[in-house]
Every structure is written in C-alpha cells, then in structure tokens.
Symmetry: D2
Subunit: 375 residues, 4 copies
C-alpha cells in the first residue's frame, strides 16, 4: 500500500505564511561555467544536468520552498537570436522538459513546489503580432502542464502589454499564476506606472503579482544599484562582468527580507546575483515567522555570525555579534572606484530597429556602430 | 588489451609550461551551504560528497590542472577546537580519505593531477612540542600516500617555523612538495622576512614555493585588500561576512595571471574567494602560453566579453570589447561605504594566551571580553 | 564742473543682461579669522573694516555687480542670542551703518550697485508676534534707506510666512526688493512647496525671487550636497567645520552658471562657501552674454586653465585645455571617507522649544541633553 | 627718549618653544584673484599691495610668528619664463623690495619676525652653470639684506644640488638660514634620499632644515595626497584647479601639528592650500606648549567647535564637542569621484629638454604634443 503525501499548493501556503523563492540561476551558472552571458539561455539543463541539479539542491537546502525549473529564455525565438548556437541542436521543448525533470527530482527531497516560468520574447520586441507572441508562450507552457508542475510564473517582463499576453496564455491552464516584472519606480518601458502595471496584471488574471530583477535588493536583486536608470542594472556600465563590488552581503539580504515582510510581501526570493547564502539569509531572518523552521544549510551557519566564536583569531571571535555585522558598512578596497556610475540611457524599447531579432551573429562592424552611438 | 595513459607529473609539467591550480573551496562551499565560517573544516567531503564533487568538476572544467583534495583543516586537533562539532563523529582520517576519493574521481575525467594538502595547526599555535605537531601532519599525509596522490601541498602557514616541520614530514614520502605561506610583504608572524621564508622552505626540501591567501590578487586572493595589515584580509573588519565589495572581477584576475606569469610564476591558482570563473580567467589569459588550449567552461565564455554580441540590448552589445572591460573601473553602488578600512592589528601570534586551543565553545562572556579588548 | 555718473538700477540691468552677485561673507571671513561659526554675526564690519573692505574688493574684481553690505544676522535679537557677545557693545544699527559705508566705498571703484539685506530672526522662530518681528526688520531697513542703498534683499529665510513679513516691510521703502529663500525641492519648513513660496513672495511684493544657500551649486551653494536633507547642508554631519571635501571647483561653478542662465535665471551669485574665484567663474562663463566683458581678476586667470601653458612641468602644461578640466572628476585623496553622509533630520521648526531664543550661553548640560537626543 | 623693543631672533625662539610659520600665499591669492596659476609669480606685491598686506595680517592674527615676504618665484629668470608678462615692467628686485616693505609693516603690529625666501630657478633646471644660478639667488638675497630682514629661507627645492648652491649664497650674509625641500619619502629628483638631503643641507650651512609643499599634511601641505607620486601633488591630475576635495579640515591640521610637535619639529607652518584658519589650528593645538597663548583670531573661534553652542539649530549645537569633530570622517558629497587618482609620473627632471626655460609662450601645437606624450 502506498501513502500519498499531499502537497499543499502555493496559494494555501501564502495564506498561512511566507513562501521563499530561489535565487539567480543564470548568473550563478555563468560563474560556474555553464551559461553564456549575452544569450543567457538555459541549455545547461540538457548539457550538464548535474550542475543544474546541484544548484537546485543548494537553494532547497538554503530554504527555498519553490524549485523553479531552469527555463529562463528557453523559447525557440531566443535560442536562435543573434548567433546563439543553443537552438541548433536543441528546441525550447527539449530544454523545458529536461528542466522540469530536474526540478521535480530535487523538489521531492523536501516536498517543495515546482514552478515553470516564461519571460519576455524577442518576438514581442521585434513587433510580431500578439498571436505569434502567445504561440511562443504556449509552446513553453504546454511542457509545464504535461509535467504536472504546481504553478506558473511570468517573470522578467519589461512591458506590461507583453505580460498581459503571457498571463492570458497561462491562465487557460487553470494553474495558479505568479506575475513579476523587472521594472523599477519609473514603471514599464512604455511609460505605464508601476502601480498601473500591478493593476493590469491582476486584471489579466495573475494570482500573485510582484517584481523581479533589474533593481537592487530593496527591489529583489543581489546588487546595489542606487544609480541605475530606468532599465535597472543592465544600463549600468558594470553589467554584466564587473558587478562584483555591488554584490549584497547576507546582512543586506536579511534587511531586505525584513522590510519586504513588513510591507506585506509574502513571496520573497531573489533574482540575478542571488546565491544560496542569500536565500538562507531570507530563511534565517524570517525563521520566527515561519514557525521557527531553519533551513538545512543553517546547520553550517549560526545566526548573525555566531559561528565565529570558533575562529582561531581572537579579534575575529570578537566579531561574533549581531551588532557588529548590522552596523558594519563594508569598505570596498577599491580606492580608484567611485560609488556611482552613469547608466546608459538609450531609451530604446519595443519597436526600435536596434532591438529587431536577428539570427545571424552581430558583426564587428555593427558593434563599432553601436560603440559610436554610445559616444 | 588496455592502454594505460601515463600521467605527467607536477615537476615535468612545470618545466614545460604553466600549471593552473584551483580556487577557494571553503569560501565557495560556505556560500553554497556546506561549510561553517569560523571553524572552516571540511566535513562536507563526508557529509555532502555531491557538493564537493560538483565544485571539483567546475574547477576542472574551468581549467584547473590540479584537483586538490578538500582536506583544509582536516586535522584532529582542529576538528575539536572551540566547540566545533565536526570532530564528534568524524576523524581527520575519515575526512581525508573521503576527500581523496572525490578528487581522484573527478581528476580522472581529464587526467588532472591530484594533491593532498596540510595547513597550520592549533597544536603549533598552542605551543605544543615539534614532535606532537609533526604527528598531526603525519596522520594526514599517511592518508594521502595510501591513496596514491600525485604530490603534497603545505599551504596556509603563517609561521615559517611550523612550515619547516610540515615540509620535513612531507619530504619523507618521496612525493613532490609544494609549500605556500599566507604572508604578505611584511613576512611571517614572527618577523621572518618574506624572502627568508622562501629560502628556508627551499632548504627544508620544498620543490615549489609560493604564497597563498590573506592578501589581494596581486598576491593570490580574490578580494581587493590594499588596506589589509600584516595578517591580511582576516584583519579587515569585513572578514568574513562582508567582503562582497572587494571581490575581484574576471578582468582583475586576467591581469593578475598576466603579471604573475611575467614575474616567472609557473603554478598559478587562487585562494579564498576564487570561484570557477576566476580560474577560467587565468586559463583564458594564459591560453597562448599553454599551446592555445582553452578550458571546457570557455565554451560558455567568449574572451573579453565577446559573448555580449548576442545580448538583446544594443548598448550592452556595445560593451563587447577588450578595451571596454579592460579600462572600466567598476563603481560600487555604495555611497555610504569607504574605499579603505582600518585593519585590526592585535599583533597576537603563536604562544599568546588568546590563541590556546580549547575544546569547549567560546562563552558569551569571553566574547565580551574580546570585544572590550578591541576598543 | 562735476560730471555725475548715473548708476543704472537693478531692474534695468536685469532687463538687459545678467547681474552677478557676490559670494559667502560669513564663511570666507570665518576662515580668515573674523567671524565666529555658531552665532555667525557680522560685527567685523565695525571691528575689522579692512578685512571686510578687502573681501568686497575681491568680489568686485572677480565680477560682482552688486556689493551687498555685510549685514547678515545684524539684528539686535540675533546679536544677543545664546551667549553671543557681539551685542554687548554694538547695536545692529552700528553694524549696519558700518557695513553700508564699506560697501558704498568699494562699490564706487567700479560703479557697482549696493544692496542691504535682512534675514530670518530668532524672534520669529521663538514665536513672537508679527508686529515684533517686523519691528526687528524695520530697524535694519531704516539704516539701509538712510545710507541710500540701491535695493534691498530678503535672504536666508526658511519659512515663507516670515519672508512675507520681511517683504512687506521692505516694500514700503519704494526700493526694489529681491527675495530669496534657503529651501530646496521639498519646500519651506512648514511644508509650503517651493513653487508656492515663489508665488507668495511675488504676491507679497518681491521684484526678484530666487533661492540662496543650504543646497548645492545646482542650487546656489559652493558645496556638493546631494545627500542633504530638508534643511540642506546644515543637517549634514560635516557642517560647518568639515565641509572641505565638498567645496566646488571653479569648473563646477561654470557649469552651475551655465545651467542657471539656460533656465532663465538672471541674477546669479553664490552663498556659503563661495569665494572670489567662484564668482570669477560665473563671470568668465557668462562673459559672452555680458558683451564680452571679463572681470579684473581674469587678468590673473586664463579661461579653462590656459595659464598652465606657463607652468614649468610639461605634464602640467598638458592640462591647459577645456576638455581636460571639463571631464576631470576630482578624486578626494580620502580613502577612509564615504561619498554620502546621513543628514540629521530632527524636523524641528518654528515654534519648537529647542529653538527658543535665549540670551545666556548654552550649558554643557544642555549640550549633553542634545547629544543624547541625537542618539 | 626712545625705548627700543628688542626682537628675539629665530634661533633663540626655537630654543625656547615652537615657532609658527604662515600658509600658502600663491594659492590663497590665486583664489582671491591676484596670482596667476601657471607662472605663480608674486607681482601682486607691487600691483595690489592691499591684498598682500591683508593676507599677511590674517596669518599674523591667526598665530604666525613669521611674516615671510611674498617673494616666491620673484627671480628675473622666472618672471620672463614661457610668456609670463610679469617680467615686462617689473624686475625681481622691484617685487622683492615691495614684498619686504609689506611684510615689515605688518610684522611690526605684533613684533613678528620677517623672512625673505628664495626658491628653485629655471636657470638650474635648464642646466645653467652654478655661478649663473647663484647669481640669480644673490640678486634676491641682496634685497633682503638691504631691508634688514631677520632671516632667510631657501624653500621649494626639488634638487638638493641646487639647494646647496642657495644655502651657500645665503650663508654669506651671516643671517640664520632655514632650508626646506619639497620632497617626499622617495627623496629628491635625482634620487638622493630624504635623509641624505637633510645631512647635505646641514653641511652646506643651514641652521634649520625641513620640508615644505608637494605632499600632504603629514608632510606640510593642506591637501590630502596619499596617492601622489614622487613629485607630490603636482603630479596628481587635480593639480591645480580641482584640488578642492582634498583640502584639509582644521581638525586634520590640529592632528598634523600635534604629530609634528611630538616628532620634535619646532618650526611648524604650511604651504600650498594653507589658509589662515589652518594656521590658527596649529596655534590652538599647541597653545599649551606656547605658554597658553592664543592668537587674536581665536577670539572668533572656540576650541573644538565650542562656538556651535550659540547655533540656532539644536542638532548643530549638539556638535559642540571635541569628540564629535575628532572622530568625524567627512563625506565628500561626490558619488562620482574616487578616493585615489593615478599621478602623472613622467620622471622628467633637471637637464630634460621639456624643462628648458623659454621666454615665448607655449604654443597650442606644443600643448598638443605634450598631451599626446601623456597618452
């Protein structure tokens, strides 16, 4: 006789407590050698399943309640854009299926939820008609439904118009739909205010709305970006290969988790730059609110630096206190660096020539043209 | 009939070309949730082999020629120091054996060398006699010999006197011995100059001598530490939980690799904070010197940001050039942070009361006493 | 026979071109040893006329069209506030009369206009009735009329209500009235918006309205204060004795003058921290707009660093260009300093107990009480 | 009957206590509009005696025991160098005579000493023979002797060889000779160590030896320059028109005075950037050591910000304490600025073609050539 453990769904969990999401797969796997910065596509789910599986497990152990299948940018139009080779041997469906398997496999270890996500598309940016854009979404969602994932996430959208198209497609599945845009206080790329975006997402059918990526932790990104422009950290000159000095500490993230919780946010996770230790910081900060539960990874981390009591050097032991870490403002070790950068503010958005989807690789000549535009 | 591939040894490889080491296991695994900051011991080799295996593989794919078994601080005296629970169910020998297996297993995938390492001990710091200190080393080395590792590393020593004891033990095995100290321009903790340390290590029998850890990349650490004191980054107030703004970019590491190579260094790797992408940066920078070989992970990384040619945003595509990344000085996004910190400079070293080994956990009272000492 | 040169009045000058004001007397004279930070009163006009005369002359030579008599805070209630000794032997009328003489004397050297100014009063802050506050103003204005000054300035007001009282008094003289408040984008201390303040000043009778002090050059102050709170630089922890790193360069001021001119501002000067070379920078930047006139002090200053062509060191001569100085972002030489500070934000304003006028000096006990409030 | 007040000489004063020098005339007068940056010559002594007199008086009131005649670079070869017009109508002798009169006149007000100074010459840099260089010095010194100044200062020399020539000339007058070089820890421009320079100056006959200018206050300059190269602040890209963020606060200078005193320095003053309030800070810091004497300017400055007790705003009154100002690290208000700059390090010195004296102005073509050299 088999005992079936019933999984409590997303909406029920949110009613009762806080749900903790995971962190930033593409950035973490880029640093580990499995994702290429530029196309940012998730073919690693097929090519190196062990690496994706391990990252899932690290997030799970750090407190994530949701295993989000690694499907970011796994749409067929993205896999072939601008010389990307990922679409040559693999379809979006291949990758999405592999990603579902990995997420489901790891989720089982702790009864976590599994989500499938879709994001903005080259098709929309290029001005393709709604039906065509939704077709791109539908092909992805079909795989998620077939794999019996628990809910759907529409994330990383810069235009609420495209977001509505995505929600519409997801809504038809009957699954709960989470919708998060990568926008900041200035609203979406077409000038729709942040508040109006939220309203439109709800009207379109989203069960949970929020934001992800592009801005700093006080919006959910693991980089300090007070100087970012409308498009967030992508506009900063340091994106994506020199963001190191902006990486949040675990204490930054504890403060973020606390502030988000106090604002009433109940689904809290991270985006680009969020590593497992950042997720653990959320779980530790909100432990009391979650019934005193601590994640497995906290076996290797005592709250507020208490583990330093075991350090050899006495002056490091002296740092074993909440007060110490809470009041420290970390120096940068970079006397030739400034606090702020001037973001690129090209103001280019959906419909613009430069954003048109292209299958062929960008030529050196085109790069030069762009660099001159920059000056 | 079986063809046996003969592995070329360390010294032969160094004669012909550059050998690339790996990065910082304890720091990487702390962020992934498997090592506790404070004791910094490697029980994960037994407890979570999949995590250690995956990190080995990432370094291998990023260009490391050496898989160093994850044996840092796996001595019995360290496993029980100041309330550390790791020594309760596990011996140093257990951990070292498990670590050897994992390193050997992954190394086979690309015919890499496998090394076993020993480091400074609480026994020495506490003033135990030489015979006792060497006994600690011998127990570790015995495991490495039994597992037929390729060579031995004595690393992370702050006192040349203890280093000599370690080399002496290793030398008896007949294996090549690499010796690296975690000291900076001011020399070891007892005032022996850096140059004299090198001479003494060679005289004691080391085949390769160098430095590791405590100072910044222009010494091999993945954090910017121009403001560190004699004991390096451990003295900085940000150690170990707020070092993020100091993390080196891949471009910093390319410069480090180039400068090290030009100085004649031929075994180049990294220590705390070095992630797989940092090792890849070494391998990419020195590709020509290594016969044009690129690591597997470079399949997901085009030199000097060229992968950005595939980015959607045109102003990010405009960053696809060596000139751009080489001349960028990354801003910090932290207007309330300074460039420099004042390091702790307690001047406490081997023989001092505060450094005595203790099995019991540090009490809150003792922490307060230390904090007052600090003021 | 005597030829009388007719002086063109303020409003006529503004109709035709830009009028350049002067800089910050109290801060400049504090650094020269003649004004005490804290009370900031102008008894130097009586005590050390040669120092005041010389500063007038420096501003005149640097391009100021207006000699503003050094009458800042020369009201009787201010001269005796909180242990200030200035009111012991001198009345406001004494100081104002002496200040008028000095300004008139120097103005004659280049036919400059002479203005008398009044500022906010302890009487208002303490909650005295309107008639009493206006009486304080009237005593000052009487001296200006008697000395036949060319126009009146109501400046350095934080409350538009008090400003209206001041304008009302000035308006009765028939002289042109300039009214400037030391407020920023958040408006006055009682929450009246900046725009509404402007409208109310005009309605009260001001001929020219504007802002002075408290915020940075892109509001007219010679310190960088992007991090100031509602009360401007006074709230910054560096005020008034550690503002040095924030001092504007001459190039900052040229940019400020240009931006102000392009916004339509036609009376451009500076406040605290503005030295003669800052005024010269305005005059040089707007030279073309002023018929090609350059100030006398430009005999010792070639535009955009061209004087460096005469420097001995060749690499300094290489800096003799507009491009060089315009694009330089000066470093601070202060690796232990941050970019930003957290301003005090006590939110204390007119009517609050702590602001009550007191004749006796503040006791050490009271200072301690305040310091505790701060924590 | 006339009572002659006998002036106590420099050496006697040094035997008994500390002698306080003055500050930086050329930089202060440049900001006031009387000196041209580039040639830096002192024709203002003739052209605008009132401005020079006033600055002398400010230093006197701030605590200077020495009025140094404003003779910096008043040698005939400097007055005609590279298009400088100062030498057209004026000789060095004219300027030096005028400067002596002004210094003597103000010194009488408080019985201060009067010194005449000579500095390095274009003749030496250009490689002229010793006799010719000494002839330049002699013409200056003759004026000082004729005016019965109290002692001579050889200051602002970068080459000890030229310094020896200067001391030799001065020594013949029988007056006390003070010798200070503008060098840092790396020694003079020809590689003579700082210590050896001191020894050679003493052997050449100097009664007092020291340093002035080029490096930061912990060497005597009123700018923070931890990042300067061998030639000090002149090599920094901010020199001379964007040094503002580096200006020392009065608290920096108090620390400098204290540290200098504790090292045994007994003649303490400042160079470029030193304003009267900086000199006052020396006098206040060393008041106890000088018999409790405070300078006149301290009538307008209570120690350690105590004057703020009279400030209107309570949170500013809360800053009236030594602890507050001593522990404040001033922020810069400049989030786009770095802590450090890279100094120019051209390594050009006496004998180099680019340093040759030229009467004609530097052409635009030559400037371009230099700018290209820079890249």
């Amino acid at each position: 006789m088999v005992l079936l453990q019933t999984k409590v769904g997303l909406l029920e969990r949110l009613d009762k407590s806080v749900v903790i999401g995971d962190g930033g797969f593409v950035f973490a796997l880029e640093k580990r050698g499995y994702v290429k910065a530029g196309p940012w596509t998730p073919e690693a789910a097929v090519e190196h399943p062990e690496a994706v599986r391990q990252l899932h497990r690290e997030f799970l152990r750090s407190g994530s309640d949701v295993m989000q299948a690694f499907t970011f940018y796994a749409s067929d139009d993205k896999l072939i854009n601008r010389g990307n080779l990922a679409g040559k041997n693999l379809t979006g469906a291949d990758i999405n299926a592999a990603a579902c398997s990995l997420a489901l496999e790891v989720a089982k270890e702790k009864n976590a939820l599994v989500a499938g996500g879709i994001s903005q598309t080259p098709s929309y940016l290029t001005g393709r008609p709604k039906a065509e854009v939704q077709d791109v979404f539908r092909k992805q969602v079909d795989v998620f439904v077939k794999n019996e994932l628990d809910f759907l996430i529409c994330e990383y959208f810069e235009h609420v118009e495209e977001m509505e198209m995505a929600i519409e497609v997801c809504k038809k599945t009957g699954l709960p739909v989470v919708a998060t845009m990568c926008i900041g206080p200035e609203g979406d790329m077409h000038g729709v205010s942040t508040g109006d975006c939220a309203v439109r997402m709800v009207k379109a059918g989203a069960d949970v709305v929020g934001i992800n990526c592009h801005f700093d932790p006080f919006v959910p990104l693991a980089y300090h970006t007070p100087d970012a422009g409308k498009q967030g950290f992508i506009d900063l000159p340091e994106f994506p290969f020199a963001l190191e000095p902006r990486v949040c500490t675990r204490w930054d993230i504890q403060r973020y988790a606390r502030e988000a919780y106090e604002m009433g946010v109940r689904y809290i996770g991270g985006c680009c730059g969020f590593e497992p230790y950042h997720v653990r910081a959320i779980a530790e900060e909100l432990s009391a609110e979650r019934g005193g539960v601590l994640p497995d990874a906290s076996q290797k981390h005592d709250a507020w630096g208490e583990g330093l009591r075991m350090h050899t050097k006495p002056w490091v032991r002296a740092r074993a206190s909440r007060h110490y870490w809470e009041s420290l403002r970390p120096s940068t070790g970079r006397p030739f660096s400034c606090a702020f950068s001037r973001p690129d503010n090209w103001g280019v958005t959906a419909g613009n020539e430069e954003l048109k989807q292209q299958k062929e690789a960008t030529s050196t000549e085109e790069i030069k043209k762009l660099q001159n535009l920059k000056k």
